[in-house]
């Protein structure tokens, strides 16, 4: 066989399977490509052939061929009006594309898979597959990954399943922190808190708010942190919770401008170690930066002179 000469490393035992796979592909192609003799592509027969060939290629670690086969199988399933299986095949193709290192293609494939699942009317798997795709590409292209994550969250929220979105939120927050985009991270944490509020997950809500305040403080933005705390304490749940108390203690320690006090609050707290590990890492590094820069010297109120009676 011509193909076997290209792969001197493949074991002899695999070769018959590979040849079989090649045969399948060729047969399926013949069935599907339009030609003079073939007016209607026969997807019913071709799709299982493609699926078999794809599994064989995957076992043989011939990713390129496997990916192509999966894509064709997905198209077949689609034509056979089973978008569910089509979506599954697309996802497999996307995973292989990621292994091949083709990020753009990966993104395209995963998005297509998610659309297919939406066609079924199933939002949960659609969001799941977007999440998996985002995780696959987050190392190489974080922006795209963030987009995908946020789309997944939006999808779940539309469907009314906010609780499922918590994991996705967590992934995005970690990504933001890795990218040092603290303001975005804090904003997203507040959004996460809002989602938790809708489904009455008070524990997650309070943790999210506390994490937001800590992120602001890590970003050396005391004013934002205080504003955040004020906003969040409008909610009784947070105000009366342990997390709210810890936040208050932390902010008052900052108000006293003593880094020892801040460190003491963080170390002796029983609440902070139970937050997400990235947030705990940030908290352990508080107070970050010079305290003087956090507390800008206010312009003195000399204008309001006591002796000035005008």
């Amino acid at each position: 066989m011509a193909e076997s000469s290209k792969r001197p490393h493949s074991a002899p035992s695999l070769d018959p399977r590979l040849t079989h796979a090649h045969q399948l592909v060729r047969k399926a192609d013949k069935l599907t490509t339009l030609s003079f003799f073939n007016w209607w592509p026969d997807w019913t027969q071709a799709t299982p052939l493609y699926e078999q060939a794809a599994t064989a290629y995957k076992l043989a670690k011939m990713l390129e061929e496997a990916k192509t086969c999966y894509e064709k199988a997905a198209t077949g399933q689609e034509r056979l009006s089973s978008p569910w299986t089509a979506g599954k095949h697309m996802e497999s193709a996307g995973a292989l594309a990621k292994e091949l290192g083709r990020i753009d293609e990966t993104v395209v494939l995963y998005r297509r898979a998610s659309e297919l699942f939406l066609e079924c009317g199933k939002a949960q798997p659609s969001a799941d597959v977007l999440g998996r795709g985002a995780r696959a590409v987050e190392d190489e292209s974080p922006e795209v990954a963030i987009r995908m994550y946020l789309d997944a969250c939006a999808m779940l929220e539309e469907d009314g399943r906010e609780q499922m979105a918590f994991d996705t939120y967590r992934a995005v927050v970690n990504l933001y922190i890795k990218l040092n985009r603290f303001k975005d991270a804090a904003a997203l944490l507040v959004r996460w808190g809002q989602a938790a509020d809708k489904c009455h997950a008070t524990q997650s809500q309070c943790k999210a708010y506390l994490s937001a305040i800590i992120v602001h403080l890590y970003d050396e933005d005391l004013k934002q942190a205080q504003q955040c705390y004020n906003d969040c304490s409008q909610m009784d749940v947070f105000y009366k919770s342990d997390q709210g108390e810890t936040a208050e203690k932390l902010l008052s320690a900052y108000g006293e401008e003593s880094s020892d006090e801040i460190k003491h609050v963080v170390d002796s707290s029983y609440i902070i170690p139970h937050l997400d590990h990235m947030i705990v890492r940030l908290a352990k590094q508080l107070p970050k930066g010079e305290l003087k820069t956090i507390f800008p010297v206010e312009p003195s109120d000399d204008k309001l002179n006591e002796d000035d009676l005008t």
Partner: protein, 273 residues
């Protein structure tokens, strides 16, 4: 016998039983105590004690509260006065005096102690009520450190040694502090454990809330699938029965035999003769 003999005999007898002569003794004592300050003071104090006891008895039998109070205060005053004499007596007790035996000399300090105790015992309306230990339930068990309330006499409070820290009290204070610190440490550990438990419980609660609707959905779908399966099974059974029932089988066999018979007959007819 002559008068002189009788006189001599009487003298001998008297000398022999001299010590039983009370009047004589008293005279001698008076002669000795003329020089013995201790004895004089002792006698004086004893007389005072008697008088005070008398007053105390009166106070006990009095019904009128005001009179009782007055008498009690009088008793207290006398007690205080007598107590003030005790130190003087103690000093005299150790002084050597001629004319008394060695044993008496030795016993004098004890006498002084006894006298002091008697003074304390005189009830003056304060100590009489509160001689019992406050922990009535443990009557009969005398602990080394019984706790009494309000048994401090005003004189005791005035003594400078009263407020100093003794060894016992400092030791007790240190032990108390040490135990308190250990308790605090233990409580800290418990608090940390409880906080972890609370966190875990909250998370589990949320997780369960998240999964409850999922399980309900899965439950519904499985019910649906089970119903479908049951349906299909019944239909399959019907079909198979229809296909392979015995009656149909026999009919099939008979028909096949008839056809074979007809075919054989035709063959035999059409075979070239």
């Amino acid at each position: 016998m002559s008068v002189i003999d009788i006189l001599t005999r009487v003298d001998v007898l008297c000398k022999k039983y001299e010590k039983y002569d009370l009047d004589r003794q008293r005279e001698e004592d008076a002669a000795v105590s003329g020089r013995d300050e201790f004895a004089k003071l002792y006698a004086a104090i004893e007389a005072d004690i008697e008088a005070t006891l008398q007053k105390a008895e009166e106070a006990k039998s009095e019904k009128d509260r005001a009179t009782v109070a007055t008498l009690n205060s009088g008793v207290r005053r006398s007690k205080a006065a007598i107590r003030a004499e005790i130190p003087k007596l103690q000093k005299l007790a150790v002084k050597k005096v001629k004319g008394i035996t060695k044993e008496e000399q030795a016993s004098r300090p004890d006498l002084v102690e006894e006298l002091a105790a008697r003074i304390d015992e005189i009830s003056d309306g304060i100590t009489g009520n509160l001689q019992n230990p406050m922990w009535g339930g443990k009557a009969g068990v005398s602990k080394p450190m019984e706790i009494r309330v309000d048994t401090m006499h005003p004189d005791d409070l005035m003594r400078p040694e009263h407020f100093e820290a003794t060894e016992e009290s400092t030791g007790f204070r240190q032990e108390f502090q040490a135990r308190k610190t250990r308790q605090d440490q233990g409580l800290d550990v418990i608090a940390e454990g409880l906080a972890t438990l609370k966190n875990m419980a909250g998370d589990i609660n949320e997780e369960l809330n998240k999964q409850a609707p999922l399980i309900d959905e899965a439950d519904n779908k499985i019910e649906q699938a089970a119903a479908d399966l049951k349906n299909t099974n019944v239909r399959l059974k019907d079909t198979v029965t229809k296909l392979r029932s015995n009656r149909n089988f026999c009919i099939d066999l008979i028909l096949i035999t008839i056809i074979l018979g007809i075919a054989g007959y035709l063959y035999s007819v059409l075979r070239p003769q």
